[in-house]
Amino acid sequence: MTERKRADKVGVGEEFEPYEYRVTPEFHQQYLGAEEDHHPRYLSESNLGWPIVHPGLLINHSNVTRSPSFYLPIGMAAVHAKEEVEFLSPGRVGKTFRVSWKVIDVYEKRGRSYQVKEALISDEDGVEILRRRITDTYISGGK
C-alpha cells in the first residue's frame, strides 16, 4: 500500500491507489434498490445474455473516495462538481472490476480549489468498461 497523501494535495500526474471490487448479485441488488431500477436487464438477462451491472454502481464505485489511498482529515470532504463519462462496454454481474485514477489538472476558481482526475474502470478480463473525467472540489469546516 502506498503512503497516504491528503487527497486535495495529490497533484497533476500523480495517481491514487487502484481499487478492486467484485459485483456479487447481492451487492448489485443493494444498488438496484438504491437506484429504484429493477429492470430485467440488471437481474437476469440483458440482450447480451447475462445481467449487466447498473451504471450507477459503476459510477459510484469509481469515485476517488473508493481508493485505498484516499485520505482527508475529519472536517473535509470531496464534492463532485463536474463529470464527463464515456461508457465503453457493459459490465457483467459477477465480475471483478479495477479502477485507476490519475490527476490531470488542478485549478482554483472563486477561491475554491478543484482537482480533475481521469478514471478508468476495467473488468478482470481487461475489458474497458467506463472512462471518466471527474472534477471534485474539496470543502472543509473552515470554508
Binding site: Y31, G33, D37, G56, N60, T65, A77, V85, F87, G141
Partner: protein, 150 residues
C-alpha cells in the same frame, strides 16, 4: 427496445421515472454494506453532523446516484447499446437532500447523420420537486445503420 428512432425530432422531450431519494436509499448507495458494523458509514451523504462539519448546510446525496438516473434514461432511450459508446457531460448544480424527489429528463438538442448512423445530442438534467435542476449537461447517443436497437 429503444424509444429514440430515426423519426425522433429535435426538441422532443423525454422523462424518466420519478425517483424518491429516501434516507434508506442514500444509506444503501453511500453507506457501505448493511452487514458491516457501523452501517451506515458516516459521510456527507449519510450524516447531518458530518456534512455540517464540512460546511454543508445539510446532507448531500451522492451525485453518482442521480447520474445513474440519467444513465438509466439514456439506456431506455437508446437501448442497451448506449452502454457501448454513450457519453454524458454533467455539472452538478444543487444539493439533493434525502427526502427529495427527482425526475431525469432529456430533450433532443440536435441529430446528425454520420457514416455509421444517426448521432443524437441531448440536453439532460434532473429536477427536484421544486422544479430546480440539480444536475445539467449533455448526453450523446446514436442509432447505428443496419442494426436493430437493442
Amino acid at each position: 427496445m429503444a424509444i429514440i428512432t430515426k423519426n425522433t425530432l429535435e426538441g422532443q422531450e423525454f422523462s424518466g421515472s420519478l425517483k424518491t431519494v429516501t434516507e434508506e436509499r442514500v444509506y444503501a448507495f453511500s453507506g457501505g454494506f448493511p452487514q458491516d458494523p457501523g452501517f451506515p458509514k458516516k459521510n456527507i451523504h449519510t450524516d447531518l453532523e458530518f456534512a455540517m462539519s464540512c460546511s454543508l448546510p445539510t446532507r448531500a446525496a451522492s451525485g453518482a446516484m442521480f447520474e445513474g438516473y440519467l444513465a438509466e434514461l439514456m439506456i431506455d432511450l437508446f437501448g442497451e447499446s448506449w452502454l457501448s459508446g454513450g457519453k454524458m457531460s454533467l455539472t452538478f448544480t444543487a444539493i439533493v437532500d434525502p427526502g427529495d424527489a427527482l425526475i431525469p429528463k432529456a430533450i433532443v438538442q440536435s441529430k446528425q447523420v454520420e457514416e455509421s448512423g444517426l448521432k443524437f445530442i441531448m440536453q439532460v438534467w434532473c429536477e427536484n420537486q421544486r422544479g430546480e435542476k440539480v444536475v445539467v449537461g449533455t448526453a450523446k447517443g446514436s442509432l447505428k445503420n443496419n442494426t436493430s436497437p437493442k
